[in-house]
């Protein structure tokens, strides 16, 4: 009986007894969920366009963030005064580098592998991952770096609200993250739904052959979509880097996108967002209210458990379509 009480009654008593902690947990879950969604979005964009699960998305986050802070340091070394000018110049250059990376990936990795089985393309992204790790360490070194959040005019400090005898603290950087991610998702959705390139991308996602037959350039679409994934990676790197530090350990965070993808589907932008939020909020609530029952530290597997639980009832994922094939 005691264990049933601890599972089914006590957590809800705690929620009612300390609503400030509940709101705080929900907020932390929302922020984490938005950031997971952002990582998942990078995977979804590339999967939609090429059917490739881009294993390199995690290291692209690290590479983009390292390029930003590395170029900033170079600019300072070259005499550009510290502050917003150097930071925004570095941001522009980092975007340019992600563009060059997209172009290089299309030329060197994807183009020679056209018409190869998906697993070959998947393995190629493994190769890309290890190349980027080595190249990144060669150029920027393995030392963790501080994200130039202040120089990019991202806010610092916290906003506190009093609530039911307690308080809820929201870090301004987290509020900024939620806003930036929301704008980014809206922008990407508009781009892919309403623009000519976006429609072309959806056509490529449906059928490479059909898209080619109506004159859509696969190469161009791939460059665009890898560049978009690069922008997403840079944004993710800035936001996670500001919360902790810019180091190669950030690539581990990308693993968090996997349960989000399981849940939201590999091809759905809304799926990535809603999946990210469910995983983010679910794991924070689970860890906070039920984690102590299991010795804490359940967050790392709880996300997968939540995803699998959903799949039990909706195997096609949240926004996926039921695929019925005639045998």
């Amino acid at each position: 009986m005691d264990i049933l009480y601890k599972i089914f009654i006590d957590p809800f008593m705690q929620m009612g007894g300390a609503p400030d902690l509940l709101v705080q947990t929900l907020w932390e879950g929302l922020v984490a969920g938005m950031l997971y969604a952002l990582i998942a979005l990078g995977f979804v964009l590339i999967f939609k366009a090429s059917g490739v699960f881009n294993f390199a998305q995690g290291i692209m986050v690290v590479f983009a963030a390292l390029t930003l802070v590395g170029v900033y340091d170079l600019l300072r070394g070259a005499g550009v005064p510290s502050g917003w000018l150097a930071a925004y110049l570095a941001l522009a250059i980092a975007l340019g580098v992600m563009g060059i990376l997209a172009f290089a990936v299309e030329r060197v990795v994807l183009r020679p592998l056209v018409n190869q089985p998906d697993i070959i393309l998947f393995m190629a992204t493994f190769g890309l991952t290890y190349f980027l790790i080595g190249f990144g360490e060669f150029v920027f070194g393995g030392n963790p770096k501080r994200m130039i959040a202040g120089e990019l005019n991202l806010p610092s400090g916290a906003v506190e609200f009093k609530m039911a005898g307690g308080f809820v603290a929201m870090q301004k950087i987290d509020i900024a993250a939620v806003l930036i991610v929301s704008v980014m998702v809206a922008g990407l959705s508009f781009f892919f739904q309403r623009t000519r390139i976006g429609r072309a991308l959806r056509a490529v996602a449906d059928s490479h052959k059909a898209a080619l037959s109506v004159g859509i350039s696969l190469e161009q679409i791939w460059v665009v979509v890898w560049f978009a994934a690069g922008i997403v990676a840079l944004t993710t790197g800035i936001m996670w880097g500001a919360r902790s530090e810019v180091s190669f350990s950030l690539q581990i965070i990308a693993l968090k996108a996997l349960p989000v993808l399981i849940l939201g589907g590999f091809t759905s932008i809304p799926g990535a967002i809603v999946g990210g939020l469910i995983i983010g909020i679910g794991e924070k609530l689970g860890e906070f209210y039920w984690g102590p029952l299991l010795g804490s530290g359940i967050e790392s597997w709880l996300a997968y458990f939540i995803a699998l639980l959903f799949l039990l009832f909706r195997p096609q994922g949240l926004f996926g379509e039921k695929i019925i094939e005639r045998i």
Partner: protein, 444 residues
């Protein structure tokens, strides 16, 4: 004329050959002592590992450059990158063990644990300096393992004694709540049995906050739990990205930083991550910080100024850089001792084991080494491979660590019985653990 395909093939072959050469170890001359260094300058734990690797290598390289090695024999140094990954660490061990290493420095508790049974078989001593299995301090049971100057269990006991001192006596811990945030791996789990036992003995409540390696930069849940549980003190056993993130999260929830105490692995960068609000954060240490020592001046003169190292000059004198120096100082003294005891210039792993077992570094010896005042004396014996030496508490003042305590000693009346029991349990679990057959040298 070569076709395009042939050119491509030739280039790939050339690259492979070049790669093989580049990754080959330096040729170990007949008259050299082979000292492999397991390091991690890359990966999620490089933030801590780079400093250690730099300090460790620079000190030994300085001995090579300044003195021509030790006892007239050059040290053949070779780094093996483990990435703090146990699997890679074991690959490193397999790669170096046939080259007759005199000592292995795993620099990871996870790598140390599987090497403990192998050390006696391969006749290579393992120096796990202030990390690894705490019970390995018992030399009679683990003759090939050395972990001076203090174990993780000693560290936990020292931190509790420090807290007790602040509270007005160890008995004042009764009724308090002590939180323990740790890397959910061999290293972080190591002191839990002691903390649990001491919770019973002293009457405090222990709250555990494990952080998986995959969640090091995502600790908001753990710190929400801290906010709910309101522990009176927080103890941290962290490494790599876990530490700066924990400091940031502690600041975020307004945890009183003067009650946040870390084992000896937190660096200046880790403390600074929390900004000005992380003032008061505390870390154990046992050696000096800074570069105002003749031996470090020699490192600059003979190694860094001559660009014989990858070291970032701004790292010299930082707490973990000096930790690397301390580790290499132990290696060097072990080799010197082994040369004296064996009468050989080029020693073996077996000689080195004897050398480490008879380590006796006093204040006079520190002065001779150009390390006067660097750390406390180290004297090991056949029975005690650790020494359980005192540490001190240092506090982050916003820009540097400042010593804020006198000598902190472990309560050996509490630690020793548990350590003996753990050693017994270890050997029983291992099945047939060999009885010590290695003779003790007179100096022990």
């Amino acid at each position: 004329m070569l076709g395009l395909r042939n050119i491509k093939t030739t280039m790939i072959a050339a690259a492979l050959v070049a790669g093989t050469v580049a990754t080959s170890p330096p040729a170990t001359a007949q008259e050299s002592i082979y000292v492999p260094l397991f390091t991690y300058r890359t990966g999620p734990f490089s933030g801590s590992g780079i400093y250690i690797a730099e300090g460790m290598r620079d000190y030994l390289e300085m001995l090579n450059q300044r003195d021509g090695g030790i006892g007239g024999v050059k040290l053949a140094l070779e780094e093996c990158e483990t990435g703090y990954d146990t699997k890679k660490g074991l690959e490193c061990y397999e790669a170096v063990k046939d080259k007759k290493p005199v000592v292995i420095n795993p620099w990871s508790t996870g790598i140390t644990l599987p090497l403990i049974p192998r050390a006696a078989v391969d006749k290579v001593p393992v120096l796990s300096m202030a990390y690894g299995l705490s019970a390995a301090a018992i030399g009679d049971t683990f003759p090939w393992i050395f972990n001076p100057p203090a174990t993780y269990w000693d560290g936990a006991s020292m931190i509790l004694n420090y807290i007790g001192e602040k509270e007005g006596g160890i008995d004042k811990l009764k009724g308090k709540t002590i939180g323990y945030i740790y890397l959910d791996a061999g290293f972080g789990k190591e002191p839990i049995p002691l903390l649990e036992q001491l919770a019973k003995d002293y009457g405090y409540t222990l709250k555990l906050y494990p952080v998986a390696a995959t969640e090091m930069q995502n600790q908001s849940s753990q710190w929400l739990n801290v906010r709910r549980d309101r522990p009176d003190y927080m103890i941290m056993y962290g490494w790599g990205a876990l530490q700066p993130t924990a400091v940031k999260e502690a600041v975020k929830i307004n945890y009183p930083m003067d009650k946040f105490v870390s084992i000896w692995w937190a660096s200046e960068d880790d403390a600074a991550a929390g900004g000005p609000q992380s003032k008061g954060f505390k870390v154990l240490n046992w050696h000096a910080v800074g570069d105002n020592l003749p031996a470090i001046a020699d490192i600059k003169k003979h190694v860094t100024d001559k660009n014989l190292t990858q070291t970032d000059k701004s790292h010299i004198g930082k707490v973990l850089y000096n930790r690397g120096i301390y580790n290499s100082m132990l290696i060097a003294e072990g080799i010197r001792n082994a040369q004296k005891l064996s009468g050989k210039k080029v020693i073996t792993g077996e000689d080195m084991r004897r050398g480490l077992e008879t380590l006796n570094i006093d204040a006079a010896r520190y002065k001779e080494m150009g390390l006067e005042g660097f750390a406390g004396p180290v004297k090991l014996t056949c029975a005690d491979h650790n020494g359980h030496f005192a540490t001190y508490m240092q506090e982050w003042d916003g820009s540097k660590y400042v010593k804020v305590s006198g000598d902190l000693k472990a309560s050996m009346d509490k630690v020793s019985p548990l350590m003996n029991a753990a050693a017994k349990e270890y050997t029983e679990k291992a099945g047939s653990w060999p009885k010590r057959t290695e003779a003790c040298d007179k100096a022990s």
